[in-house]
Symmetry: C2
Subunit: 240 residues, 2 copies
Amino acid sequence: MGKTYKAAMLVIGNEILSGRTQDKNINYLANKLGEQGISFVEVRIVPDIEEKIVEALKSLKEQVDYVFTSGGIGPTHDDITSECVAKACGVAFGTHPEAFEILEAHYGKEEFNAPRRKMAMTPQGAELIPNPVSAAPGFIIDNIYVMAGVPRIMQAMVDHVVPSLAGGALVKSENVPCFYPESKIAEGLGDIQKKFPDVDIGSYPYFKDGKTGVNVVLRSSNEESLTKAKEDVEDMISSI
Amino acid sequence: MGKTYKAAMLVIGNEILSGRTQDKNINYLANKLGEQGISFVEVRIVPDIEEKIVEALKSLKEQVDYVFTSGGIGPTHDDITSECVAKACGVAFGTHPEAFEILEAHYGKEEFNAPRRKMAMTPQGAELIPNPVSAAPGFIIDNIYVMAGVPRIMQAMVDHVVPSLAGGALVKSENVPCFYPESKIAEGLGDIQKKFPDVDIGSYPYFKDGKTGVNVVLRSSNEESLTKAKEDVEDMISSI
């Protein structure tokens, strides 16, 4: 067994907490981390409040290998993420020369006003993450990956960063659909879970168009265990 | 100014963190809390791991008036939320007589097996939340509201619980669409934000079909401030 690499995400999002916007970034990152063999262990969503952002960053960066943030790196007064990351990492906050060049070239010298120059500021020592949509870069400092909140930009940044991260063995998954209610298969599933400790067995009931059923989802990086556990689940269900 | 009532949510969701499922419950709760004048200040998503659930519950229940959980109250081995809530509240965990009766009546004495009886267990002193879809109730203990993860059931439980909670003044919102890039209006917006500290002004850029724009969203429980700030934003944009 190799090391398990863990990731967490901090969504800086008043618009998610107010209900105005349905988040799409969590699911996108979850799938990309899965493809890289990185275990996604926690998400927090907090408002644009410095104390909350800094506290969450400090807590998460100690617990996992990679912390991803989304949101709050634009030019307006409510974009405070970059400065909060500097505070959480205990480093100075200032203009990043390369980001300044990129943005000045993008907007042109005359149009490169104060709010745009704000987007060239990062914690000292940050490495940039390119933004192919609107130029203003994200950045990496320590184990924190700071990305935009706009889904198209966030996704491009994830695509740029995640494939090059160190990850563990790929987790494969199998789905066994079942048309009994969950409580009919619960004991059998519990026994199979005990028999295969390296397979993560979850059961997800649904109630749709008057029908009841369960999707039994098995996940493991051990393909042999996964196959055997899946066969056991299928046998158990067909024996009911 | 009255008291500000705050809420947080803990999503117990391996299926969200694995990327298999796109969460819908956060947005539903966010909107219902907004209608009740309750400020939604944090969401955490954690896996089905006792230590993570208990730690998050202990932290959140101290910080807010209402903690909502979703997921992990079914009959299978991976459903550990109820027991974790008992641990976080420091109370015993056992069969809730009323929940036992409801479930026994629902399934019938003969079919009321061990996994189904597990769903009748709550922290001692819990008050039940009815489940109109599949009978197994949620519950309330201290300031924690424990709900199912299946969206249809979760939504019914939210609809049952939230309208009777104490809330503050309703937050109204206004949206001012703008077809300039965010960095053109950033300085003006910052000035208006300073002028109206009781209005929460957010700006949300979008990049769609080759077009760039910003939605400026103003939120406040003070209707007079909201109207004036909106007029200022409109004037500022039309003067560019």
